[in-house]
C-alpha cells in the first residue's frame, strides 16, 4: 500500500504542482486577494454565524498563503494528494487488486478538473473531508489485507494511466474558455495592481483589446498612465466613453478596475469607496486586496489614524507582517511631516447618461493640472462624438497640459482638423502636423466624393473614420 501511495504521489505531486504554478498562477493570486482571514473577534464571530462558517474560515486561513504562487500551488496540490491517498485506501480496501490501483485517479482527475473552477478553496476542503470520510468508512467496513500483489503490467498501469488521466483532466480544465479568460484577466489585473503599465500594453495589443472589453479598459488605463491615450486610444477598439471604466458597476471585475482607475487619478476617497464595494462583494465580506488598497490610499492621503487602523487589522492575519512592515517607514514619515490636503469635494459616481464625462469634468474643474484626467475627459468626448464640448474644453487643456508643444497627440490633431472644416482659424492657434493636414485633405476629398468606404479603409484608425462611421 505504501508503495502504491508513494508511486502515485511521485506522479501526482510534481505534475499538479507545475500545472498550478504555470497555468493558474494569476488565478491563485486573485483567490488570495479576494479572501480574508483575521483572528479579530468581529471577523471570526461573523464567519461562525454564516452557513458553512467553519469550512469557510479554514479555507480563508489557507488562502492567505496563496500570496506566494509556490505556496499556493503546493496547497492546491495537497488537496488533490489527500483525495488521491484516500482514494488509494478505498480502492485497496474494496478491490484488493494492484492492477486496478489506477482507479484512484478517477476521482482525483474529476477533482482536479473541478478544482480549477473553484474561486476559493471551500470546495476543495469539502472534497478532502468527503474523501477522508470515505476512506475511514472503507477501512472500518472491510478487513485488513496483506497488501497488493505486484502483477505483470502493474507499473505501466500505476504510472502511465494516472499520468494520462491527469493530463486529460488538465487539458479539460484548460479547454474551458472561462478558465483561460479568467487567468488572462487576472494577469492583467495583477499587472495593473503593480503599476506595470508597459507589460499590460505588451500583452493587451490593439487586436486583443478590440475583442476583450475588460482588458480594453486596462489597456486604456495603461495608456492614460503613460500619457499615450490621445495618441492611440481608437486603435484599441473603443466604442464610446463607457469603455474607459465600468459605470455604476456592482461586480467584482468592475469595482476592482474602478478602484485602480481612481488610484491612478489621485481620487483617494473614490479608491476607498470602490475598495469597500469590492469588500462587500467578496465571499467573506472583506478582502485582502481591498484592505491593502485602502491602507495604501490612507497612507497616500496622509490619514495616519485610519492607515494605522488598517495596518493593525492586517496584522491580525497570518501573512501580512512583512507587508505592514514595508509601510511603517511611510507612516513614520507622515508622523514627522504631516500631509495637508485640500478638502476638494469632487463629485464622483454620477448616475446620468454620461457618468465618465461628468466625473472627469468635476475632477478637472477641481484639479486642472491633472493631465491624465484631462486626457481621459477629452478622449471620452471624442469617443462620444461630442465635438462641440471638445472644442470648448481643448483650449483650457492645451494651456495647462500642452503649452508650447510642437506636436500634439494624434487624435487631438485629427479632431482639430475636423473642427477646422467649420472654423479654419483653429489651425492658426494649434500646431497640427502637415502630414496630418494632408491626410485629412485626402480623407475629406474621398468623403466629399461620396466614397465613404474608401475613405474609412484608407484611414482605418483615424478619428475621422470613427466619427463618420455611420455614413
Amino acid at each position: 500500500m505504501k508503495k502504491i501511495i508513494s508511486l502515485h504521489s511521485a506522479v501526482l505531486v510534481p505534475v499538479l504542482f507545475l500545472f498550478w504554478l504555470l497555468a493558474y498562477r494569476n488565478t491563485m493570486w486573485w483567490m488570495e486577494g479576494m479572501s480574508f482571514f483575521s483572528t479579530l473577534p468581529d471577523f471570526a464571530v461573523l464567519q461562525a454565524r454564516l452557513p458553512a462558517g467553519a469550512v469557510k474560515y479554514a479555507a480563508a486561513y489557507l488562502l492567505q498563503f496563496y500570496h506566494s504562487a509556490v505556496a499556493g500551488a503546493l496547497l492546491q496540490t495537497l488537496y488533490a494528494w489527500i483525495v488521491m491517498v484516500c482514494a488509494d485506501v478505498v480502492v485497496w480496501r474494496l478491490l484488493r487488486r494492484a492492477d486496478l490501483s489506477w482507479l484512484s485517479f478517477v476521482p482525483v482527475g474529476i477533482f482536479v478538473a473541478i478544482q480549477c473552477r473553484y474561486r476559493t478553496v471551500d470546495g476543495s476542503l469539502v472534497w478532502c473531508l468527503a474523501a477522508i470520510a470515505a476512506a475511514v468508512v472503507s477501512v472500518c467496513l472491510t478487513r485488513r489485507t496483506d497488501g497488493y500483489v505486484i502483477v505483470r503490467g502493474f507499473w505501466r498501469r500505476a504510472v502511465i494511466v494516472p499520468l494520462l488521466l491527469l493530463a486529460a483532466c488538465a487539458a479539460v480544465s484548460l479547454s474551458i474558455r472561462e478558465n483561460r479568460v479568467r487567468e488572462r484577466v487576472h494577469r492583467t489585473e495583477r499587472l495593473a495592481e503593480n503599476r506595470d503599465w508597459d507589460r499590460i500594453l505588451e500583452i493587451v495589443r490593439p487586436e486583443v483589446s478590440a475583442e476583450d472589453p475588460v482588458r480594453r479598459r486596462y489597456a486604456l488605463l495603461a495608456m492614460a498612465e503613460k500619457g499615450m491615450l490621445a495618441e492611440n486610444f481608437l486603435r484599441y477598439g473603443v466604442k464610446g466613453s463607457e469603455d474607459f471604466f465600468f459605470a455604476g458597476s456592482n461586480d467584482i471585475v468592475g469595482c476592482n478596475f474602478n478602484a485602480l482607475l481612481a488610484r491612478s487619478l489621485g481620487l483617494e476617497n473614490e479608491t476607498i469607496h470602490q475598495s469597500f464595494q469590492l469588500n462587500s462583494l467578496s465571499p467573506l465580506g472583506y478582502s485582502f486586496r481591498s484592505m491593502r488598497r485602502i491602507t495604501d490610499a490612507f497612507l497616500r492621503d496622509g490619514n495616519i489614524p485610519l492607515a494605522e487602523k488598517y495596518m493593525r487589522i492586517l496584522l491580525h492575519s497570518t501573512c501580512h507582517k512583512s507587508w505592514v512592515e514595508s509601510r511603517v517607514g511611510r507612516m513614520i514619515d507622515l508622523m514627522q511631516n504631516p500631509v495637508e490636503r485640500d478638502r476638494d469635494n469632487i463629485l464622483t459616481c454620477a448616475t446620468n447618461d454620461e457618468p465618465l464625462l461628468m466625473d472627469m469634468a468635476c475632477l478637472y474643474d477641481a484639479r486642472p493640472d491633472n493631465r491624465m484626467c484631462a486626457d481621459i475627459l477629452l478622449c471620452g468626448l471624442l469617443a462620444s462624438r461630442q465635438m462641440d464640448r471638445f472644442a470648448l474644453l481643448f483650449p483650457r487643456v492645451y494651456a495647462s497640459a500642452y503649452p508650447g508643444r510642437d506636436v500634439l497627440p494624434r487624435y487631438y490633431e485629427e479632431a482639430l482638423l475636423v473642427l477646422s472644416r467649420q472654423n479654419p482659424d483653429i489651425l492658426d492657434r494649434y500646431s497640427v502636423s502637415s502630414f496630418r493636414r494632408e491626410a485629412f485633405g485626402k480623407f475629406a476629398e474621398l468623403m466629399d466624393a461620396g466614397r465613404y468606404d474608401d475613405a474609412r479603409a484608407a484611414y482605418p484608425d483615424s478619428y475621422w473614420s470613427y466619427l463618420y462611421a455611420a455614413m
Binding site: L40, D42, R367
Partner: protein, 480 residues
C-alpha cells in the same frame, strides 16, 4: 523530566509571575497624567458601568491602583500595556465609590521606561445615577453602498457581553435598520428589514409580526421611526434617500433626501395617520421624535432644493406639532423650536429629554445627514425658553451625530467619529438636571483596542431597560 511535568512547571511559573502582587519597583515619577486609551481622565461614569479597562501604548507591564476617599481599594496588574479589571472587584469598587471620585494611580514599564514610571494620578467620578442596563445599536460598514453582513446588537452595559439581536442572515443578507423601542422597554421593539420579502418587524407581547408599511395608508415606506412612549403609535418619516460620493480628499459622501414626509402608524389599529401639511412637496419633513408625554411630535423640516448640486442650500429647522393619541390626529399649531435660517446650520436627530425640558439635536452646516459632516456637533435647546444650552463638552473636531437620552435623562449616548474620522464609536456622557454635560467617555470594552480595530461602525444607539429576547425562530419564519 516528563514533558507534561515540564509544561506544568513552566505554567506554574508563568502563573506565579502573573499573580505577583505589585512587586515591581518604579524607577521614576511623571508630572503628567498617564496617556491612557480610552481617555477616562475626569469623566463621570454611572455606578453600574462595566470596568473601565484601559491601555497605554508602547508599554508592556502596567499597574493601576484605584483608591476611594484616600484609601486603596483595588490594584490591577496587566501585561501588553493593558489593564483588564476583574468584573466582580470592579462592581465592589463602584458600589463603594458611588457619589464619590475614584483616584487612579498608574505605573507602567516598557521599552521607553524599562525602570518604570509612575504617572500623576487622575480621577473619575462615579455618579449615583445608574444608566439603563442595555444598549442596542446597529453595526455596519461605515457608509458606502454595499454590505455583506450587518446586524442590530445589544450590549450589557455592566459587563462586556454583546449579543446579536437580529442580523441580516435572517433576510437573505438584506438590510436591517432603524430599530426603535417603546419607552425603553425590551419587550417592544421594531426594525426594518429591506430587500425581498422585507417589511417592518414589530416585536410585542413576545411575538413578532411583519408589516409592509407601503401597503398601509398613503402607500409609502417608513424610514426613520420613533415609537411613542405608551407604545400605541409609531411616527415614521418616509424618505427618498440618495447618496453622492466625493472622490477627492475632503468629505467622503453626502446622504440626502429628494422627498420626505411624516406619518404615524397606529400599532393597535394598523392604520396610518397622515396630515396634508406634512405630505406636500413644498417641505421635506424627517426624523420624527415624540415628546415624553406622547402628545407632541418634533421633527426636522426643510425647504426643498435641487439635489445634490444645491445641497449646501438645504437647512433643516426643528418643528413641533401636537398629536392627540385618543383620536390619532395632529394638532393645528406648529411651533418652530429651531430656526436654521436664524441660528444657522441644519438640524438632525431631534431628541427630547425624558423630563421634557431639553431638546438635543445634531447640527451640521447643511443637509440631513451629519454623520458624514466633520463639522457636525451636538446642540441643545432648553424648551422652556428656547435658549441654547452649552454642550460643547460633548463635541470634538470630527462628527458627532446620532444620540439618545437614557430613560432617567441623566445620560446621553452619542455617536462620534473623533477617534479616526470614519468609524462611529459610542460615547456616554452625564447630563445634570440643569443640562450641564460632562466629558463623554468611550463605551468600555474588555480590550480597549477593540475600539480601534472593530471592523464596523456603530449606528442608532438606543438605551434599553433590559435584555431584548427576540424569538429567533419566529423571526426567521417571517422571512421564509
Amino acid at each position: 523530566m516528563h514533558i507534561l511535568t515540564r509544561i506544568f512547571v513552566i505554567a506554574a511559573l508563568v502563573f506565579l509571575c502573573a499573580c505577583s502582587d505589585g512587586a515591581a519597583t518604579v524607577g521614576g515619577k511623571s508630572d503628567s497624567p498617564p496617556p491612557i486609551f480610552p481617555d477616562y481622565v475626569s469623566v463621570t461614569v454611572p455606578c453600574n458601568i462595566a470596568p473601565l479597562n484601559f491601555s497605554i501604548r508602547g508599554t508592556d507591564r502596567i499597574r493601576a491602583e484605584f483608591a476611594v476617599s484616600g484609601s486603596g481599594r483595588l490594584k490591577v496588574e496587566g501585561r501588553r500595556g493593558m489593564v483588564d479589571i476583574p468584573v466582580d472587584e470592579w462592581r465592589g469598587l463602584m458600589a463603594e465609590a458611588a457619589g464619590d471620585s475614584v483616584r487612579v494611580t498608574v505605573s507602567a514599564w516598557g521599552a521607553l521606561n524599562p525602570e518604570g514610571v509612575e504617572y500623576s494620578p487622575f480621577s473619575f467620578y462615579v455618579s449615583r445615577d445608574s444608566v439603563d442596563g442595555w444598549l442596542a445599536y446597529r453595526l455596519i460598514e461605515p457608509g458606502y453602498e454595499g454590505w455583506m453582513q450587518m446586524g442590530i446588537y445589544q450590549r450589557d452595559l455592566s459587563s462586556f457581553d454583546e449579543k446579536v439581536l437580529v442580523d441580516n442572515s435572517v433576510n437573505g443578507m438584506g438590510c436591517v435598520n432603524c430599530h426603535s423601542f417603546a419607552g425603553y422597554s425590551p419587550e417592544r421593539m421594531l426594525f426594518h428589514a429591506r430587500g425581498e420579502g422585507g417589511g417592518t418587524v414589530f416585536f410585542e407581547g413576545g411575538g413578532v409580526e411583519k408589516v409592509d408599511l407601503a401597503k398601509v395608508g398613503p402607500g409609502k415606506q417608513g424610514v426613520y421611526p420613533m415609537w411613542s412612549p405608551d407604545g400605541r403609535y409609531v411616527a415614521f418619516s418616509s424618505n427618498s434617500t440618495f447618496q453622492s460620493f466625493f472622490g477627492g480628499h475632503g468629505q467622503v459622501l453626502e446622504v440626502y433626501d429628494q422627498a420626505s414626509d411624516l406619518m404615524v402608524y397606529g400599532v393597535q389599529t394598523g392604520e396610518m395617520a397622515v396630515d396634508g401639511r406634512f405630505q406636500t412637496e413644498d417641505r421635506w419633513e424627517t426624523f420624527p421624535a415624540w415628546t415624553p408625554d406622547g402628545r407632541s411630535l418634533v421633527f426636522c423640516s426643510a425647504e426643498p432644493h435641487s439635489m445634490p448640486l444645491e445641497r449646501e442650500k438645504v437647512h433643516y429647522d426643528i418643528l413641533r406639532v401636537g398629536f392627540d393619541p385618543e383620536t390619532g390626529t395632529f394638532g393645528e399649531r406648529v411651533d418652530t423650536l429651531y430656526n436654521a435660517r436664524v441660528s444657522g446650520g441644519s438640524a438632525s436627530f431631534p431628541r427630547v429629554s425624558p423630563d421634557g425640558r431639553f431638546l438635543m439635536f445634531a447640527r451640521a452646516d447643511y443637509g440631513t445627514f451629519p454623520i458624514w459632516h466633520d463639522e457636525a456637533d451636538l446642540a441643545m435647546i432648553r424648551l422652556d425658553d428656547g435658549v441654547q444650552v452649552d454642550v460643547s463638552a460633548l463635541n470634538s473636531t470630527l462628527s458627532e451625530s446620532c444620540h439618545e437620552w437614557s430613560s432617567s435623562g441623566r445620560w446621553v449616548v452619542i455617536g462620534s467619529r473623533r477617534l479616526d474620522g470614519r468609524y462611529t464609536r459610542l460615547f456616554i456622557a452625564h447630563v445634570s438636571p440643569e443640562g450641564v454635560c460632562g466629558k463623554p467617555f468611550l463605551l468600555p470594552q474588555r480590550d480597549p483596542e477593540h475600539n480601534m480595530w472593530r471592523l464596523k461602525s456603530y449606528n442608532v444607539p438606543q438605551f434599553v431597560r433590559g435584555e431584548v429576547r427576540l424569538p429567533q425562530r419566529d423571526l426567521k419564519n417571517l422571512f421564509k
